[in-house]
């Protein structure tokens, strides 16, 4: 066993003096016979043997080992109860070159932190978890742990752990080994010298694997807590070997390479991800723009799936390229996913106050329910564009211009129901003159990704405009309030 030299005296990975402790700086705070001390020693020695001291970050949990940072002369981070493996995840992702150890007790790992450990393991975080299972809550004075044995008395199981009330002990090594990602999972016991030597081997192997970047490693260490067991240290060790290890079988549960095909992410320049590389947006500059003097407010409404929100965005984008201030406010969430959708658009030469439009200058109603719901809100002198050949017979709107455009029918003729919103955009620009047609055309061609659709979009825009050119509008003929000049 030459690779395991027996070390007497203190490992150089421990501080010479425990200066972070208030008093008794030459000894640990652990009780005599506690497994934490032995485990610390095994870790320190393995780190030393592997030459990892400088690279190591120890995450101490909440539990008796909360003060691991008193002892380990490594980088140290203390975590909230149960969160050590999430904290370790953040640390490792931020420092891929570091050796990150998540040191956790059974309450920490298998009760309050169950989700964190399962998911860190499942992601295959390249960290090492040392899971000290002492079947009790040591720090808080011997309450039941998730690993407490059936019948075992604790301060919160005064009649012994009752499976009918508390369930049975959770076997974390087995559980973690059901996942694909972990590369090494072993359970060891601090019951006697033979088993302690095996434990040392496991601790070192886990760290060595992390050093190689192999993936997620965990060693579950069955450990004596003489204080809460109310046993002599020797008896407690024997209990670990004879009783605890019976419930929690020792052995290697996982030891294999992780094989998977990584999916790579294309890299982009900062300007590209920020959307200021000039590709996605045509410049606002360099065009002669009309001077817009007044604000226009729009409400666009219809069924989800009719491209209501996109139509609003196209109008807002066109307004922005016309150097106006614009805002677009959608209905969002489940409403959007199910039945209806609507959005509010404001175009203004000045800074916009409320982006909500209660009385629009222009209503685009892509279906009848929207017309009924919002029609009466339109400002006097405003415009309604309705997706239909004519208004429903019972509906009349006084003092507003109404343009009926069978946008869906026109879109169907073009060959795509989807472009009904673009037909409506064409009609809207013709009916209200609130934005120039050419700018809208530019927006449409710069935003479209699929060339086939672009062609249909352009036709739709054109046909929407032409339809109104040839059809007579109903109602007042004056332009809506606030549009253009």
């Amino acid at each position: 066993m030459s690779e395991y030299k027996l070390v007497h005296g203190r490992s150089p990975v421990f501080y010479k003096r425990f200066e972070r402790k208030e008093e008794n700086q030459h000894q640990t705070h652990y009780c005599p016979g506690c497994g934490h001390g032995v485990t610390h020693k095994m870790i320190a020695e393995a780190l030393d043997e592997l030459g990892l001291q400088d690279r190591t970050i120890m995450v101490s949990p909440v539990g008796c080992s909360v003060f691991a940072y008193y002892y380990f002369d490594t980088g140290n981070v203390q975590a909230a109860h149960g969160r050590a493996s999430a904290v370790a995840t953040g640390l490792k992702r931020a420092n891929p070159g570091a050796i990150v150890i998540s040191y956790q007790g059974d309450g920490d790992l298998a009760a309050i932190g169950t989700a964190e450990i399962i998911h860190a393991a499942n992601r295959g975080e390249n960290i090492t978890v040392f899971f000290l299972n002492n079947a009790t809550y040591g720090m808080t004075g011997g309450q039941m742990a998730p690993t407490t044995l059936v019948g075992q008395v604790s301060t919160t199981t005064p009649w012994g752990r009752r499976p009918n009330n508390e369930g049975g002990p959770i076997k974390m090594a087995e559980l973690i080994s059901t996942l694909d990602a972990p590369v090494y999972v072993e359970r060891v016991a601090l019951s006697d010298s033979k088993h302690i030597i095996q434990a040392r081997r496991a601790v070192k192997k886990a760290l060595e694997l992390q050093k190689q970047g192999a993936g997620f490693t965990m060693v579950e260490i069955l450990s004596p807590c003489p204080t809460t067991l109310k046993m002599e240290p020797k008896m407690a060790r024997r209990w670990v070997g004879e009783t605890l290890a019976k419930e929690f079988p020792l052995g290697v549960f996982r030891d294999r390479k992780r094989v998977f095909e990584p999916i790579s992410v294309p890299q982009a320049s900062l300007a590209e991800v920020l959307g200021i590389d000039g590709k996605s947006v045509t410049k606002e500059e360099g065009h002669v723009r009309r001077k817009h003097t007044r604000a226009t407010t729009l409400k666009i409404a219809g069924f989800g799936g009719q491209g209501i929100l996109l139509l609003g965005q196209l109008i807002a984008e066109t307004g922005m390229r016309e150097h106006m201030e614009v805002s677009w406010l959608p209905s969002y969430g489940p409403e959007m996913r199910s039945g209806s959708a609507h959005c509010h658009v404001t175009l203004s030469p000045e800074r916009i106050g409320s982006p909500m439009v209660s009385h629009p200058d222009i209503l685009v109603a892509m279906n009848e329910p929207s017309l009924r719901k919002f029609g009466a809100q339109v400002k006097p002198g405003g415009t309604i564009l309705y997706n239909g050949r004519s208004l429903p017979e019972d509906l009349h709107f006084d003092g507003v211009t109404v343009a009926c455009v069978p946008a869906s029918a026109i879109a169907d003729q073009i060959g795509s129901t989807k472009v009904a919103n673009i037909v409506m955009l064409g009609a809207l620009l013709e009916a209200t003159d609130c934005l120039p047609f050419t700018t809208a055309q530019e927006v449409l061609s710069s935003l479209a990704k699929n060339p086939e659709l672009t062609e249909k979009d352009e036709r739709a825009l054109e046909e929407g405009r032409n339809y109104l050119d040839t059809e007579v509008m109903v109602g007042a003929q004056a332009g809506p309030d606030g549009c253009g000049e």
Binding site: A98, H119, L274
Partner: protein, 350 residues
């Protein structure tokens, strides 16, 4: 060059400009686009996005990456923020900077996804345990979603403390022109971080101080930082307050509505002005007192049953009558509604 951009997306772009390359999150409406765009954009510039198993884990991953000295953020809304509170307390206790974007929805409980401002207390007063504060900034436009995200990263590092971008569903979901410059933030040195190397080996990140004296010293140290922050970091904006008889107060989306309310009221010859807190903590108390000095009355509008209004009353110390109008549940009042309410309280008949 302006781009039409959603508020939530602007947060991610600004975070990237701030040098944030780590995002840990969990989806929730109306904040989800922040996680979605972080997932899309941050890995393309060599960064890391992890969808955590819960907000509890997300904030603790933030804690880990922040311990390593990186600029890091997360985003959520009401229920998720409740789950993050423990972690936020630990971050403040361990003096770790990070940015948390909250896009508020209606509560309590599952509530709904429509906008409210009901997490003002949770964020400004410290929703977790212990004596700590978050730096809280309240954007009211898409441009501010970006500029205040940048500021949040700066202040978080300056004070080694969590900074919160407290937006609401409307500001998060809204699209407006956004102007970004191609500058990358200079990242500050963080000699206290734990990086897994020889220089930082002596460093310790923790919030535990076992003896009462040590703990008191630590809490006093935090208190000092918060006092300095209160002195130096209050931010606000005013609109037509010079001759105002009534001062309207509101933040976030409400301030946008109130700006229109001011215009409407003035069109009818009623002189009102607007005070908009930009930093909710520290609350711009001094500036508010100064601005309100010339007005007869103050009227607070909020999407909660009365949270920020407490800070307004505290600041004014009874020196002015403070009226309060609230809408909740996801209802956002229109400018007309606010004007009608204002006129009723002023006993203006129009």
């Amino acid at each position: 060059m302006r781009q039409l951009c959603k508020g939530n997306v602007a947060v991610v772009k600004a975070a990237i400009m701030a040098g944030c390359r780590f995002f840990f999150g969990y989806p929730i409406t109306p904040a989800s686009e922040i996680a979605e765009y972080a997932a899309l954009l941050i890995p393309q510039v060599g960064g890391t996005f992890v969808q955590a198993e819960s907000e509890v884990s997300a904030i603790n991953m933030v804690y880990g990456a922040s311990s390593a000295g990186k600029r890091v953020m997360t985003a959520s809304s009401g229920p998720g923020i409740s789950l993050m509170q423990e972690g936020i307390s630990y971050l403040a206790g361990a003096e770790l900077p990070c940015v948390i974007a909250e896009v508020m929805r209606s509560g309590p409980g599952l509530g709904n996804i429509a906008p409210e401002q009901s997490d003002y207390f949770a964020m400004t007063k410290g929703g977790g345990h212990g004596c700590y504060r978050n730096i809280v900034l309240a954007p009211s436009s898409v441009q501010e979603m970006a500029s205040l995200t940048l500021l949040a990263f700066e202040l978080a590092d300056k004070y080694r403390n969590p900074a919160v971008l407290l937006a609401d569903g409307f500001v998060g979901q809204m699209m407006e022109p956004l102007e970004l410059e191609l500058v990358e933030a200079a990242l500050p040195e963080k000699p206290w971080a734990v990086k897994g190397n020889l220089e930082t080996r002596p460093n310790l990140i923790c919030s535990i101080h076992l003896t009462p004296d040590a703990m008191e010293a630590h809490v006093r140290h935090l208190e000092e930082k918060y006092k300095q922050c209160e002195r130096d970091e209050a931010r606000w904006e005013t609109y037509l307050t010079e001759d105002a008889e009534v001062l309207l107060v509101g933040y976030g989306i409400v301030s946008r509505v109130l700006r229109s309310t001011v215009d409407l009221a003035r069109q009818q010859g009623v002189k009102v002005g607007l005070f908009r807190p930009i930093s909710l903590w520290p609350f711009p108390s001094k500036a508010l007192v100064e601005t309100a000095r010339r007005t007869a009355k103050v009227m607070v509008f909020e999407l909660s049953t009365g949270q920020m209004v407490e800070d307004v009353r505290l600041a004014l110390g009874g020196s002015k009558p403070v009226e309060f109008y609230s809408r909740v549940g996801g209802n956002v009042p229109s400018a007309e509604e606010c004007k009608a309410e204002l006129f009723a309280r002023m006993e203006v008949s129009v």
